[in-house]
């Protein structure tokens, strides 16, 4: 066989006129790409180790570095592309299942980009959010179907527990273990300051973060890692994770090297041993079983906290959501196939599940048609990239969105999609102390707050343009959307008209 499997996909380009051999690139690369040939005072690079995380590029003080996509090419073939060939070569060499991270990067249609938002002209006034009140507050939870009165005619408080958010956005579930302590601290502090929520993911809650409980959603997943009575009561809501958009139908696998002392204590699993979340919950084989877990968790928390059920967006998502709404859950969370992950089999990530836009529209329609939309709030995730996506999701029927990838980008992630290696140069998806310290939460939480405030302003601007002054009036208001370049069936599923209609 050949000396190398294939030529590296990315090349490190160093401008020798600008390189001052400060060796910052060498010190900052956990993959060992850069090295210094001291006798010649010149820097070298091993392209084959580069994951294109951009750490060296952005820390180089003289901007002497860039990473470019290699122009080395196989003979042109529109069927066997470079990616397909290289992945096959890796498998022929290793015999392994391919692993990937973050969301599905393939060229499926992005429906958010084919939906456009309405604005007021002449016949109805737009609103200037800088001068007039604009309500972005959202309450998540089951809403009572009717006003109830006691025998003296006084209104009875029959409102089930709610989550109160200052804006329709939350940080999605990312476990301590898959991301670092400092990443979790940044998310927790930002959520507390913004008046929103972050989600522990399935790895339990580090004892240091119990004080952010009022802004925490605690997750219960198939591995039940870190779940105990205090944990359930520490957060403001409990999320049962049935599935994840990046890997519907399969469980999780946190490698032993990421289970360091603190992670092991938090997860209640042995240090250094792989933590495996089974594909199904072994006690849930039906909606009735799910209902039992929902009510067990409600019992454990004295019916004071809403219960969320999170599922991946799959083919019959509407029917599943209908079942969940009837199971006693207060909130349904749906994760689309663009959703991120710390590690998933590549074939699953890139081929299983459906787009969140279609899943959301069909779930909202189904719940409305069945007259049970008020019984649950709907939170969507998996592909929200901007405030415009948030507005479109809400107009399609969501109550709120979860942001995972967007939040990590604010913390420094550059989507190199190598989380599974555990050597994140930005200090996010790693447990190596040398790397974890690269994310200073004092900086991280402020960047998250900046991002959320910026998006909130933009949401208000778009709502104002539509002449809408409250998120509640935008919710499920699909007349505010039009499709561009979509076929009849797509428009039918999305429940929107084509632009010009």
């Amino acid at each position: 066989m050949a000396a190398f499997d294939f030529y590296p996909d990315y090349e490190v380009v160093r401008n020798l006129d600008r390189c001052i051999v400060c060796r910052v690139c060498e010190r900052q690369c956990a993959n060992g790409v850069h090295s210094c040939l001291e006798e010649k005072n010149v820097m070298l690079a091993d392209d084959s180790q580069c994951v294109d995380c951009q750490r060296c590029v952005l820390l180089c003080p003289t901007r002497a570095l860039k990473i470019v996509k290699s122009d080395n090419t196989y003979k042109q073939n529109d069927n066997w592309g470079k990616k397909a060939i290289n992945e096959l070569i890796i498998q022929a060499s290793t015999g392994s299942v391919l692993l990937s991270s973050m969301g599905n990067p393939e060229t499926y249609p992005i429906y958010f980009d084919k939906l456009v938002i309405n604005a007021s002209q002449v016949t109805n006034p737009s609103i200037d959010p800088l001068r007039e009140p604009m309500e972005t507050r959202v309450y998540l939870g089951a809403k009572p179907a009717a006003v109830e009165r006691d025998d003296r005619g006084r209104i009875k408080n029959n409102l089930p527990p709610q989550l109160k958010l200052s804006m329709p956005m939350m940080f999605s579930a990312m476990s301590y273990g898959s991301i670092s302590y400092n990443a979790h601290e940044s998310l927790a502090r930002a959520a507390a300051e913004l008046g929103i929520y972050y989600n522990t993911g399935e790895g339990g809650l580090h004892e240091d973060f119990y004080r952010y409980g009022a802004n925490t959603i605690v997750q219960v997943a198939s591995g039940r890692f870190g779940v105990h009575k205090d944990y359930l009561n520490a957060g403001s809501a409990i999320e049962i994770k049935m599935g994840q958009g990046a890997k519907p139908g399969i469980g999780g696998h946190l490698p032993g090297r990421k289970i360091v002392a603190d992670v092991s204590r938090t997860r209640m699993t042995p240090e250094g041993a792989d933590a495996i979340s089974p594909a199904p919950h072994h006690d849930i084989y039906s909606i009735e079983d799910l209902s039992q877990l929902v009510y067990s968790l409600k019992e454990a928390t004295e019916y004071k906290k809403p219960v969320i059920v999170k599922i991946a967006a799959v083919h019959n998502v509407a029917a599943i959501a209908s079942g969940i709404a009837r199971s006693g859950a207060d909130i349904i969370s749906i994760d689309g196939f663009r959703g991120g992950t710390g590690a998933a089999p590549t074939r699953i990530r890139d081929n299983v599940g459906i787009p969140i836009e279609l899943a959301l529209a069909s779930v909202d329609s189904r719940l409305r048609n069945e007259g049970i939309r008020d019984r649950v709030s709907v939170v969507v995730s998996g592909g929200i990239r901007s405030s415009a996506d948030v507005v479109k999701a809400i107009a399609l029927g969501a109550d709120c969105v979860y942001l995972g990838t967007a939040a990590l980008l604010a913390l420094g992630c550059h989507l190199c999609r190598a989380c599974q290696a555990g050597k994140c140069n930005w200090g996010i998806a790693t447990q190596e102390l040398e790397l974890v310290k690269r994310l200073n939460p004092d900086i991280g939480y402020k960047r998250l707050i900046n991002l959320m405030r910026a998006w909130k302003h933009e949401i208000e601007e778009m709502m104002g343009g539509m002449g809408i002054n409250s998120i509640e009036s935008l919710k499920g208001n699909r007349l505010m959307l039009r499709g561009v370049g979509l076929n009849e069936k797509e428009l039918e599923v999305l429940g929107v008209k084509h632009a010009g209609q």
Binding site: D17, R18, V24, R27, T62, K437, N440, I443
Partner: protein
């Protein structure tokens, strides 16, 4: 008085502070042009030992041994900052020997010493090591 402090917990050992310090001492506007092919003589230096890193520069002590030991009066305290008049320094290096932090070093020409003066000669208002630290490990604070 505001001084430069290093939060060891967040220091990555990237050594960028050293290069920005050396760049500030030049009259060039481009770091590559200023420092390429040159050995640098920064007034801040990063100590590395395994996973531990921290940057060290002048502490601007209330009772500085360097000023006490200076035989020519080149070192003095002005508004709490230990300043150096390189014209008066004869390069006896008594200050280098007496500084318990190792924060004074020989200047590039070897005839005088050099030390951190908190970038007072620049108009930035904040020392360059602080401004350019990628992880906010180096801070400019009044801690009393």
């Amino acid at each position: 008085m505001k001084r430069v402090y290093v939060n060891e917990k967040w220091c990555l050992g990237c050594h960028l502070c050293e290069y920005y310090c050396a760049f500030t001492q030049t009259d060039k506007t481009d770091m590559a042009y200023a420092l390429r092919g040159r050995k640098i003589f920064p007034m801040i230096s990063v100590e590395d030992s395994g996973a531990v890193h921290f940057a060290v520069n002048c502490r601007h002590c209330a009772e500085p041994l360097c000023v006490k030991g200076c035989i020519t009066g080149a070192l003095s305290i002005q508004d709490g900052v230990v300043r150096l008049d390189q014209e008066r320094c004869i390069g006896c290096f008594t200050c280098i020997l007496s500084c318990p932090y190792g924060a004074i070093s020989p200047a590039e020409d070897g005839h005088a010493v050099q030390k951190c003066e908190l970038c007072l000669s620049t108009n930035e208002g904040v020392p360059q090591c602080v401004k350019n630290c990628p992880n906010a490990a180096i801070v400019f604070e009044d801690r009393g």
